[in-house]
Symmetry: C2
């Protein structure tokens, strides 16, 4: 199996980096090929804009989707975007490793979605959801949060983690990926926000690492998150009445 780990954290000695390292060692130990896209280390530019397109479809007015499609059709995609697409295309499993910042992925990773999931290439009006370009491949988000688990429960102060992950998961499903349940690491302290003793915290980090390594060895047992698909929607893109609302946050 070919695995792509999209790693997003500015600090090489962070807990996120440790989790990525564990994934590399564990998966390679299982005989898989692992590639890491270290967005910060590679200096990925997450800001979609006119400067990325050498040969514009319209030099006067920048319409992101028009230029993305034009770049695909004229084989003139930005080099970094083409590199990420190539990495995705040769992968069977994609792991996104990132900290939850402001109830979502950091800007660096959000921009990876904005720029790499190009219109006309990774999706189109017909090539979306269960007819998506990357169907058949699986994706897994490995996330760290600052607040502890209770804050992210259904009635938690930090927000229901299922609701916070939903826009990210749905975007991944949009390009056809099978989304595995996320690996959640709660209460990864930062900014001196201490929720427990230092010793307890160290033990927790080790337990989180072991839990991650263990899960990576049994990914085949995972069942992807169920989303509705084309057969479930009417011509207006609304779920047919008889269909159970499986995919809601």
């Amino acid at each position: 199996m070919q695995v792509l780990i999209v790693h997003c954290h500015p600090e090489p000695s962070s807990f996120n980096a440790a989790l990525t390292q564990i994934a590399v060692e564990t998966l390679e130990g299982l005989g898989h090929q692992v590639e890491v896209a270290d967005l910060y280390a590679e200096g990925f530019d997450p800001v979609e804009g006119p400067g990325h397109f050498e040969t514009r479809r319209d030099d006067e007015r920048f319409a992101p989707l028009d230029e993305q499609r034009h770049a695909v059709e004229s084989a003139s995609l930005p080099a970094d975007v083409q590199r990420e697409i190539t990495r995705l295309e040769r992968s069977d499993l994609v792991i996104l490793q990132f900290p939850l910042w402001w109830h979502a992925q950091p800007a660096m990773l959000k921009g990876w979605f904005d720029r790499v999931f190009v219109y006309g290439g990774l999706y189109s009006g017909r090539m979306r959801y269960d007819r998506g370009r990357l169907r058949g491949k699986r994706v897994l988000c490995s996330v760290t949060t600052g607040s502890p688990a209770p804050a992210f429960s259904r009635d938690g102060r930090g927000g229901d983690i299922a609701a916070l992950m939903w826009p990210i998961h749905y975007s991944l499903y949009y390009v056809g990926l099978e989304v595995l349940p996320p690996q959640l690491n709660y209460g990864i302290q930062g900014g001196g926000l201490s929720y427990q003793s230092e010793t307890t915290f160290r033990d927790q980090l080790e337990a989180d690492k072991a839990r991650w390594a263990s899960r990576l060895k049994s990914l085949d047992d995972d069942t992807p998150i169920a989303f509705a698909g084309w057969d479930d929607w009417d011509e207006d893109g609304v779920l047919k009445p008889e269909h159970p609302a499986r995919w809601r946050p």
Copy 2:
């Protein structure tokens, strides 16, 4: 009233730009002071990282929240971050104008959250939610989407718009802002994804502009979105049983 419009779109002639222009003209016409933070035009850097901090608390290991708090305490915040905080502090109303990209705000605007909402400055463990630093101020998201309205209904193919906006709205509430219902502009075509005739589309854009100008004249009638607050949570940060779950997506 002092108004700050945080404008996020790469194209100066975009429909988003037209909506921002209408907001400036309408609000100034009402006698308000309006300032526009044009993130793309100002070249805002949305990527939080070590390079932004001149005097580090820890030169070896970059912990974002630790460095943010240290920068606040040592009055050494990055110039662009300090500028945005100053803009926020002198405002009574903040308007975020942006297109919905991949079920969230564009990376440029997401990074504005990541970098400007600094720990130790705009929030802390005690200074959050209804005890947030910016309480008393209001915020309104004016959003454009590519797909038409039905796709963003509760059972829509594009995802329930309330669920997609929730992480953004909750982040704004986290720093104490009163979040007004979003101004939603659906079906703003891009990438040749045409959902209706060109004439009908032009009429819709004009109707959207008029609807925006009209709403801006009656903002005092708006009721902020209701979120739970400190009195509603137990010591674990979970909603007390007797409390109605008002804030869920």
